[in-house]
Protein backbone atom coordinates (compact mmCIF):
# COMPACT_ATOMS: atom_id res chain seq x y z
CA UNK A 1 0.00 0.00 0.00
CA UNK A 2 2.78 2.41 0.90
CA UNK A 3 6.54 2.20 0.89
CA UNK A 4 9.55 4.18 2.07
CA UNK A 5 13.30 3.60 2.00
CA UNK A 6 15.03 3.76 5.37
CA UNK A 7 18.48 5.24 4.92
CA UNK A 8 19.31 6.22 8.49
CA UNK A 9 18.63 3.09 10.51
CA UNK A 10 18.45 2.23 14.19
CA UNK A 11 21.44 0.55 15.82
CA UNK A 12 20.23 -3.01 15.36
CA UNK A 13 19.50 -2.49 11.68
CA UNK A 14 22.63 -0.55 10.87
CA UNK A 15 24.11 -3.23 8.60
CA UNK A 16 20.97 -3.61 6.54
CA UNK A 17 20.43 0.00 5.44
CA UNK A 18 19.20 1.16 3.05
CA UNK A 19 16.13 -1.05 3.07
CA UNK A 20 12.49 -0.50 2.17
CA UNK A 21 9.71 -0.67 4.74
CA UNK A 22 6.22 -1.32 3.45
CA UNK A 23 2.66 -1.26 4.68
CA UNK A 24 0.85 -4.25 3.22
CA UNK A 25 -2.84 -5.09 3.08
CA UNK A 26 -3.27 -8.79 3.88
CA UNK A 27 -5.87 -11.09 2.38
CA UNK A 28 -8.03 -10.81 5.50
CA UNK A 29 -8.22 -7.03 5.12
CA UNK A 30 -5.85 -6.20 7.98
CA UNK A 31 -2.72 -4.11 7.46
CA UNK A 32 0.79 -5.07 8.43
CA UNK A 33 4.07 -3.20 8.40
CA UNK A 34 7.31 -4.94 7.48
CA UNK A 35 10.66 -4.88 5.73
CA UNK A 36 10.71 -5.62 2.01
CA UNK A 37 13.34 -8.16 0.92
CA UNK A 38 14.68 -9.54 -2.38
CA UNK A 39 13.56 -6.29 -4.00
CA UNK A 40 14.55 -4.39 -7.09
CA UNK A 41 13.80 -0.75 -7.81
CA UNK A 42 10.93 -1.70 -10.08
CA UNK A 43 9.16 -3.39 -7.16
CA UNK A 44 8.80 -0.14 -5.21
CA UNK A 45 5.36 0.77 -6.51
CA UNK A 46 2.08 1.12 -4.72
CA UNK A 47 -0.07 -1.90 -5.46
CA UNK A 48 2.81 -4.37 -5.91
CA UNK A 49 1.83 -7.85 -4.80
CA UNK A 50 3.97 -9.37 -2.10
CA UNK A 51 4.16 -12.62 -0.18
CA UNK A 52 5.14 -13.00 3.47
CA UNK A 53 8.35 -14.87 4.27
CA UNK A 54 10.25 -15.74 7.39
CA UNK A 55 13.71 -14.25 7.65
CA UNK A 56 16.36 -13.36 10.19
CA UNK A 57 15.31 -10.12 11.86
CA UNK A 58 18.77 -8.58 12.10
CA UNK A 59 22.39 -9.37 12.89
CA UNK A 60 22.85 -10.04 16.55
CA UNK A 61 25.91 -10.66 18.70
CA UNK A 62 27.81 -13.94 18.49
CA UNK A 63 26.25 -15.28 21.67
CA UNK A 64 22.74 -13.85 21.41
CA UNK A 65 19.49 -15.61 20.60
CA UNK A 66 18.60 -15.48 16.90
CA UNK A 67 15.37 -13.67 16.07
CA UNK A 68 13.21 -14.59 13.10
CA UNK A 69 10.44 -12.31 11.86
CA UNK A 70 7.92 -11.93 9.07
CA UNK A 71 9.08 -9.84 6.14
CA UNK A 72 7.65 -9.33 2.68
CA UNK A 73 8.97 -10.29 -0.73
CA UNK A 74 7.68 -9.05 -4.08
CA UNK A 75 6.08 -11.71 -6.23
Amino acid sequence: MQWTMIRVPATSFIDQAPYPVVIVRMQDGKNMIGQLVDWQKKDLVIGKEVVSVLRRLRTEGKEDVIYYHIKFKPI
Partner: protein
Protein backbone atom coordinates in the same frame (compact mmCIF):
# COMPACT_ATOMS: atom_id res chain seq x y z
CA UNK B 1 6.48 -49.95 1.60
CA UNK B 2 7.90 -46.53 2.40
CA UNK B 3 8.36 -43.77 -0.07
CA UNK B 4 8.38 -40.10 -0.97
CA UNK B 5 4.96 -38.48 -0.90
CA UNK B 6 6.04 -34.93 -1.63
CA UNK B 7 9.05 -32.66 -2.00
CA UNK B 8 9.90 -28.99 -2.15
CA UNK B 9 12.94 -26.94 -3.01
CA UNK B 10 13.99 -23.36 -2.40
CA UNK B 11 16.78 -21.47 -4.13
CA UNK B 12 17.67 -17.93 -3.04
CA UNK B 13 17.27 -15.27 -5.69
CA UNK B 14 20.85 -14.05 -5.87
CA UNK B 15 23.64 -15.33 -8.13
CA UNK B 16 27.34 -14.55 -8.20
CA UNK B 17 29.11 -15.14 -11.50
CA UNK B 18 32.19 -17.29 -11.00
CA UNK B 19 34.02 -14.97 -13.35
CA UNK B 20 33.54 -12.25 -10.72
CA UNK B 21 35.34 -14.37 -8.14
CA UNK B 22 38.10 -15.15 -10.62
CA UNK B 23 38.43 -11.49 -11.46
CA UNK B 24 38.59 -10.57 -7.77
CA UNK B 25 41.52 -12.85 -7.14
CA UNK B 26 43.24 -12.08 -10.41
CA UNK B 27 42.76 -15.51 -11.93
CA UNK B 28 42.24 -16.13 -15.63
CA UNK B 29 38.85 -17.72 -16.31
CA UNK B 30 39.69 -21.38 -16.63
CA UNK B 31 38.47 -24.79 -15.68
CA UNK B 32 36.13 -23.98 -12.84
CA UNK B 33 34.26 -21.48 -14.90
CA UNK B 34 33.78 -23.72 -17.88
CA UNK B 35 31.51 -26.20 -16.23
CA UNK B 36 29.59 -23.89 -13.86
CA UNK B 37 28.95 -20.24 -14.59
CA UNK B 38 27.47 -19.05 -11.32
CA UNK B 39 26.46 -19.96 -7.79
CA UNK B 40 23.47 -19.16 -5.60
CA UNK B 41 23.95 -16.71 -2.73
CA UNK B 42 21.55 -16.24 0.20
CA UNK B 43 19.98 -12.90 1.00
CA UNK B 44 21.39 -10.96 3.92
CA UNK B 45 18.64 -12.19 6.20
CA UNK B 46 18.40 -15.80 4.99
CA UNK B 47 19.91 -18.82 6.63
CA UNK B 48 19.60 -22.60 6.49
CA UNK B 49 16.47 -22.46 8.65
CA UNK B 50 14.57 -19.79 6.69
CA UNK B 51 15.37 -21.61 3.44
CA UNK B 52 14.46 -24.96 4.97
CA UNK B 53 11.07 -23.59 6.00
CA UNK B 54 10.36 -22.34 2.47
CA UNK B 55 11.23 -25.74 1.01
CA UNK B 56 9.18 -27.55 3.65
CA UNK B 57 6.11 -25.43 2.94
CA UNK B 58 6.27 -26.46 -0.68
CA UNK B 59 6.72 -30.12 0.24
CA UNK B 60 3.66 -29.98 2.48
CA UNK B 61 1.66 -28.40 -0.30
CA UNK B 62 2.68 -31.10 -2.77
CA UNK B 63 2.05 -34.01 -0.42
CA UNK B 64 -1.47 -32.82 0.26
CA UNK B 65 -1.19 -33.39 4.01
CA UNK B 66 -1.64 -30.91 6.85
CA UNK B 67 1.48 -29.71 8.64
CA UNK B 68 0.02 -31.14 11.85
CA UNK B 69 0.15 -34.60 10.22
CA UNK B 70 3.93 -34.52 10.34
CA UNK B 71 5.35 -36.63 13.15
CA UNK B 72 9.07 -36.22 12.69
CA UNK B 73 11.45 -33.50 11.53
CA UNK B 74 15.08 -34.25 10.75
CA UNK B 75 17.13 -31.29 9.60
CA UNK B 76 20.50 -31.91 8.00
CA UNK B 77 22.96 -29.07 7.43
CA UNK B 78 26.53 -27.97 7.94
CA UNK B 79 25.44 -24.40 8.53
CA UNK B 80 22.92 -24.76 11.34
CA UNK B 81 22.37 -21.25 12.77
CA UNK B 82 23.16 -22.55 16.26
CA UNK B 83 25.81 -25.00 17.36
CA UNK B 84 23.45 -26.00 20.16
CA UNK B 85 19.71 -25.40 19.59
CA UNK B 86 17.99 -27.51 16.96
CA UNK B 87 17.01 -26.11 13.59
CA UNK B 88 14.46 -28.92 13.35
CA UNK B 89 12.26 -27.52 16.12
CA UNK B 90 12.41 -23.99 14.71
CA UNK B 91 11.10 -25.46 11.48
CA UNK B 92 8.53 -27.55 13.34
CA UNK B 93 7.28 -24.50 15.24
CA UNK B 94 6.96 -22.20 12.24
CA UNK B 95 5.25 -24.91 10.19
CA UNK B 96 2.78 -25.36 13.04
CA UNK B 97 3.14 -29.10 13.41
CA UNK B 98 2.28 -29.13 17.12
CA UNK B 99 4.39 -30.82 19.80
CA UNK B 100 4.04 -34.55 19.21
CA UNK B 101 6.93 -35.19 16.86
CA UNK B 102 10.39 -36.73 16.77
CA UNK B 103 13.05 -34.19 16.01
CA UNK B 104 16.78 -33.86 15.75
CA UNK B 105 19.45 -32.03 13.81
CA UNK B 106 21.95 -33.96 11.73
CA UNK B 107 25.43 -33.16 10.57
CA UNK B 108 27.36 -35.25 8.11
CA UNK B 109 28.70 -32.64 5.72
CA UNK B 110 26.77 -32.88 2.45
CA UNK B 111 24.92 -36.05 3.28
CA UNK B 112 23.20 -34.83 6.44
CA UNK B 113 19.89 -34.60 4.64
CA UNK B 114 19.98 -38.06 3.10
CA UNK B 115 21.02 -39.51 6.45
CA UNK B 116 17.86 -37.91 7.79
CA UNK B 117 15.89 -39.71 5.12
CA UNK B 118 17.32 -43.04 6.25
CA UNK B 119 16.41 -42.32 9.88
CA UNK B 120 12.88 -41.41 8.81
CA UNK B 121 12.53 -44.61 6.78
CA UNK B 122 13.38 -46.47 9.97
CA UNK B 123 10.66 -44.70 11.96
CA UNK B 124 8.15 -45.28 9.21
CA UNK B 125 9.06 -48.92 8.83
CA UNK B 126 8.66 -49.44 12.57
CA UNK B 127 5.28 -47.68 12.36
CA UNK B 128 6.33 -45.05 14.90
CA UNK B 129 5.12 -42.36 12.51
CA UNK B 130 2.89 -41.98 9.45
CA UNK B 131 4.58 -38.96 7.92
CA UNK B 132 8.08 -37.59 8.35
CA UNK B 133 9.74 -34.41 7.11
CA UNK B 134 13.40 -34.36 6.09
CA UNK B 135 15.24 -31.17 5.23
CA UNK B 136 18.67 -30.73 3.68
CA UNK B 137 19.61 -27.06 3.71
CA UNK B 138 22.79 -25.04 3.65
CA UNK B 139 23.91 -21.43 3.37
CA UNK B 140 27.38 -22.63 2.54
CA UNK B 141 30.40 -20.51 3.40
CA UNK B 142 33.40 -20.66 1.15
CA UNK B 143 36.65 -19.09 2.38
CA UNK B 144 37.54 -16.11 0.18
CA UNK B 145 40.37 -16.96 -2.22
CA UNK B 146 39.90 -20.69 -1.64
CA UNK B 147 39.01 -23.14 -4.38
CA UNK B 148 35.75 -23.97 -2.65
CA UNK B 149 34.65 -20.35 -2.95
CA UNK B 150 33.69 -21.13 -6.53
CA UNK B 151 31.32 -23.90 -5.59
CA UNK B 152 29.92 -23.29 -2.08
CA UNK B 153 26.31 -22.30 -2.74
CA UNK B 154 22.98 -22.10 -0.90
CA UNK B 155 19.65 -23.83 -1.25
CA UNK B 156 17.21 -26.06 0.63
CA UNK B 157 15.36 -29.22 -0.24
CA UNK B 158 12.64 -30.97 1.76
CA UNK B 159 11.09 -34.41 1.42
CA UNK B 160 8.04 -35.84 3.12
CA UNK B 161 8.09 -39.60 3.47
CA UNK B 162 5.11 -41.82 4.19
CA UNK B 163 3.72 -45.33 4.15
CA UNK B 164 0.42 -44.92 2.29
CA UNK B 165 0.85 -46.42 -1.15
CA UNK B 166 -1.88 -44.23 -2.65
CA UNK B 167 0.09 -41.12 -1.69
CA UNK B 168 3.59 -42.27 -2.60
CA UNK B 169 5.15 -40.85 -5.76
CA UNK B 170 8.40 -42.82 -5.48
CA UNK B 171 8.87 -45.99 -3.48
CA UNK B 172 12.16 -46.74 -1.78
CA UNK B 173 13.17 -50.16 -3.06
CA UNK B 174 16.62 -50.32 -1.51
CA UNK B 175 18.70 -48.31 0.86
CA UNK B 176 22.21 -48.72 2.28
CA UNK B 177 25.19 -46.73 3.42
CA UNK B 178 28.98 -46.80 3.25
CA UNK B 179 30.90 -45.03 6.00
CA UNK B 180 34.52 -44.54 7.04
CA UNK B 181 36.73 -42.19 8.98
CA UNK B 182 38.22 -40.19 6.13
CA UNK B 183 39.34 -36.61 6.77
CA UNK B 184 38.93 -34.81 3.47
CA UNK B 185 36.95 -31.73 4.54
CA UNK B 186 36.12 -30.41 7.99
CA UNK B 187 35.15 -27.38 10.05
CA UNK B 188 36.05 -27.03 13.73
CA UNK B 189 33.48 -25.78 16.24
CA UNK B 190 33.53 -21.97 16.16
CA UNK B 191 35.36 -21.71 12.84
CA UNK B 192 33.63 -19.64 10.19
CA UNK B 193 34.97 -21.45 7.13
CA UNK B 194 35.64 -25.13 6.42
CA UNK B 195 39.07 -26.48 5.58
CA UNK B 196 40.03 -29.28 3.22
CA UNK B 197 42.90 -31.32 1.91
CA UNK B 198 42.60 -30.25 -1.70
CA UNK B 199 42.96 -33.15 -4.11
CA UNK B 200 42.48 -35.67 -1.31
CA UNK B 201 38.73 -34.90 -1.57
CA UNK B 202 38.74 -36.67 -4.90
CA UNK B 203 39.84 -40.32 -5.14
CA UNK B 204 40.25 -41.32 -1.50
CA UNK B 205 37.17 -39.41 -0.40
CA UNK B 206 34.35 -38.76 -2.87
CA UNK B 207 35.08 -41.51 -5.35
CA UNK B 208 35.92 -44.25 -2.88
CA UNK B 209 32.65 -43.83 -1.01
CA UNK B 210 30.34 -43.09 -3.91
CA UNK B 211 31.66 -45.93 -6.03
CA UNK B 212 31.71 -48.49 -3.22
CA UNK B 213 28.19 -47.55 -2.14
CA UNK B 214 27.09 -47.59 -5.75
CA UNK B 215 28.50 -51.08 -6.24
CA UNK B 216 26.82 -52.24 -3.03
CA UNK B 217 23.44 -50.95 -4.17
CA UNK B 218 23.72 -52.65 -7.53
CA UNK B 219 24.80 -55.92 -5.94
CA UNK B 220 22.05 -55.82 -3.29
CA UNK B 221 19.34 -55.06 -5.79
CA UNK B 222 20.75 -57.36 -8.44
CA UNK B 223 20.06 -54.57 -10.94
CA UNK B 224 22.28 -53.18 -13.69
CA UNK B 225 22.79 -49.53 -14.67
CA UNK B 226 20.69 -49.99 -17.79
CA UNK B 227 17.70 -50.93 -15.59
CA UNK B 228 17.55 -47.33 -14.39
CA UNK B 229 16.00 -44.33 -16.11
CA UNK B 230 17.99 -41.84 -14.08
CA UNK B 231 20.93 -41.59 -11.73
CA UNK B 232 21.68 -38.89 -9.17
CA UNK B 233 24.98 -38.29 -7.35
CA UNK B 234 26.17 -35.67 -4.94
CA UNK B 235 27.56 -32.74 -6.92
CA UNK B 236 30.50 -30.97 -5.27
CA UNK B 237 31.41 -29.66 -8.72
CA UNK B 238 30.58 -30.38 -12.36
CA UNK B 239 33.30 -33.01 -12.88
CA UNK B 240 32.84 -35.47 -10.02
CA UNK B 241 29.24 -36.66 -10.60
CA UNK B 242 29.95 -37.09 -14.32
CA UNK B 243 33.03 -39.17 -13.56
CA UNK B 244 31.22 -41.24 -10.93
CA UNK B 245 28.32 -41.96 -13.25
CA UNK B 246 30.70 -43.08 -15.97
CA UNK B 247 32.69 -45.29 -13.62
CA UNK B 248 29.58 -47.07 -12.41
CA UNK B 249 28.33 -47.61 -15.95
CA UNK B 250 25.66 -44.92 -16.33
CA UNK B 251 25.23 -42.78 -19.44
CA UNK B 252 25.35 -38.98 -19.59
CA UNK B 253 21.65 -38.98 -20.56
CA UNK B 254 20.71 -40.79 -17.36
CA UNK B 255 22.65 -38.24 -15.32
CA UNK B 256 21.79 -35.02 -17.12
CA UNK B 257 18.47 -33.95 -15.52
CA UNK B 258 19.97 -34.07 -12.04
CA UNK B 259 22.89 -31.74 -12.64
CA UNK B 260 21.68 -28.67 -10.70
CA UNK B 261 25.34 -27.95 -9.98
CA UNK B 262 25.69 -26.53 -13.47
CA UNK B 263 23.14 -23.86 -12.63
CA UNK B 264 23.71 -22.93 -9.01
CA UNK B 265 26.85 -24.62 -7.69
CA UNK B 266 27.00 -26.93 -4.68
CA UNK B 267 24.41 -26.24 -1.95
CA UNK B 268 25.97 -28.92 0.25
CA UNK B 269 23.23 -30.80 2.17
CA UNK B 270 20.68 -29.82 -0.44
CA UNK B 271 22.80 -30.89 -3.40
CA UNK B 272 21.91 -34.54 -4.05
CA UNK B 273 18.39 -34.04 -2.71
CA UNK B 274 17.81 -31.24 -5.21
CA UNK B 275 19.28 -33.34 -7.98
CA UNK B 276 16.69 -35.98 -7.13
CA UNK B 277 13.90 -33.37 -7.04
CA UNK B 278 14.96 -32.16 -10.45
CA UNK B 279 14.58 -35.72 -11.74
CA UNK B 280 11.25 -36.26 -10.00
CA UNK B 281 9.98 -33.09 -11.71
CA UNK B 282 10.13 -34.86 -15.06
CA UNK B 283 10.00 -38.57 -14.24
CA UNK B 284 7.25 -40.80 -15.58
CA UNK B 285 5.58 -43.59 -13.58
CA UNK B 286 7.38 -46.89 -13.01
CA UNK B 287 10.87 -45.49 -13.57
CA UNK B 288 13.82 -46.52 -11.43
CA UNK B 289 16.16 -43.86 -10.06
CA UNK B 290 19.66 -44.66 -8.77
CA UNK B 291 20.78 -42.30 -6.02
CA UNK B 292 24.06 -41.97 -4.11
CA UNK B 293 24.90 -38.99 -1.93
CA UNK B 294 28.26 -38.14 -0.36
CA UNK B 295 29.27 -36.42 2.84
CA UNK B 296 32.81 -35.57 3.80
CA UNK B 297 34.25 -37.24 6.86
CA UNK B 298 33.10 -39.54 5.10
CA UNK B 299 30.17 -41.55 3.85
CA UNK B 300 27.67 -42.20 1.11
CA UNK B 301 23.94 -42.93 1.40
CA UNK B 302 22.45 -44.97 -1.41
CA UNK B 303 18.81 -45.33 -2.44
CA UNK B 304 16.94 -46.99 -5.26
CA UNK B 305 13.62 -45.26 -5.98
CA UNK B 306 10.82 -46.34 -8.25
CA UNK B 307 8.19 -43.86 -9.32
CA UNK B 308 4.47 -44.57 -9.19
CA UNK B 309 1.48 -43.39 -11.17
CA UNK B 310 0.73 -40.83 -8.46
CA UNK B 311 3.74 -38.81 -9.50
CA UNK B 312 1.95 -37.38 -12.52
CA UNK B 313 -0.72 -35.81 -10.33
CA UNK B 314 1.65 -34.32 -7.80
CA UNK B 315 4.12 -32.97 -10.36
CA UNK B 316 1.40 -30.47 -11.20
CA UNK B 317 1.68 -29.07 -7.67
CA UNK B 318 5.39 -28.39 -7.88
CA UNK B 319 7.29 -25.50 -9.36
CA UNK B 320 10.04 -27.39 -11.22
CA UNK B 321 13.53 -26.95 -9.84
CA UNK B 322 14.70 -25.82 -13.26
CA UNK B 323 12.14 -22.99 -13.26
CA UNK B 324 13.03 -21.93 -9.72
CA UNK B 325 16.68 -21.70 -10.63
CA UNK B 326 15.80 -19.30 -13.43
CA UNK B 327 14.34 -16.78 -10.96
CA UNK B 328 17.56 -14.90 -10.30
CA UNK B 329 19.36 -11.58 -10.18
CA UNK B 330 23.13 -11.09 -10.30
CA UNK B 331 25.12 -9.44 -7.58
CA UNK B 332 28.67 -8.15 -7.35
CA UNK B 333 31.52 -9.61 -5.32
CA UNK B 334 31.27 -6.91 -2.57
CA UNK B 335 27.52 -7.50 -2.34
CA UNK B 336 28.26 -11.24 -2.01
CA UNK B 337 30.65 -10.54 0.87
CA UNK B 338 28.04 -8.37 2.56
CA UNK B 339 25.24 -10.90 2.12
CA UNK B 340 27.35 -13.74 3.48
CA UNK B 341 28.38 -11.57 6.44
CA UNK B 342 32.06 -11.62 5.52
CA UNK B 343 32.22 -7.81 5.84
Amino acid sequence: MTGIIGYGTYVPKYRLKLSEIAQMWGKESGDACQLMGEKSVPGFDEDAVTMGIEASKKAIYMSGIKSSDLQSVYFGSESHPYAVKPSSTTVGEYLGIGNNYFAADLEFACKAGTAGMQVTVGLLGNKNINYGLVVGSDAAQGRPHDALEYTAASAACAYILGNKQSEIIANILEMSSFSSNTLDFWRRDGAKYPSHFGRFSGEPAYFTHVIEEGKNLLAKSKLKPKDFSYCVFHMPNGKFPRAAAKKLGFTPEQLAPSLIVDKIGNPYSASSMMGLASVLDIAKPKQKIFFVSYGSGAGSDGFIFETTRTILLKQKKAIPVLKQMENKIYISYPEYLRQTHAI
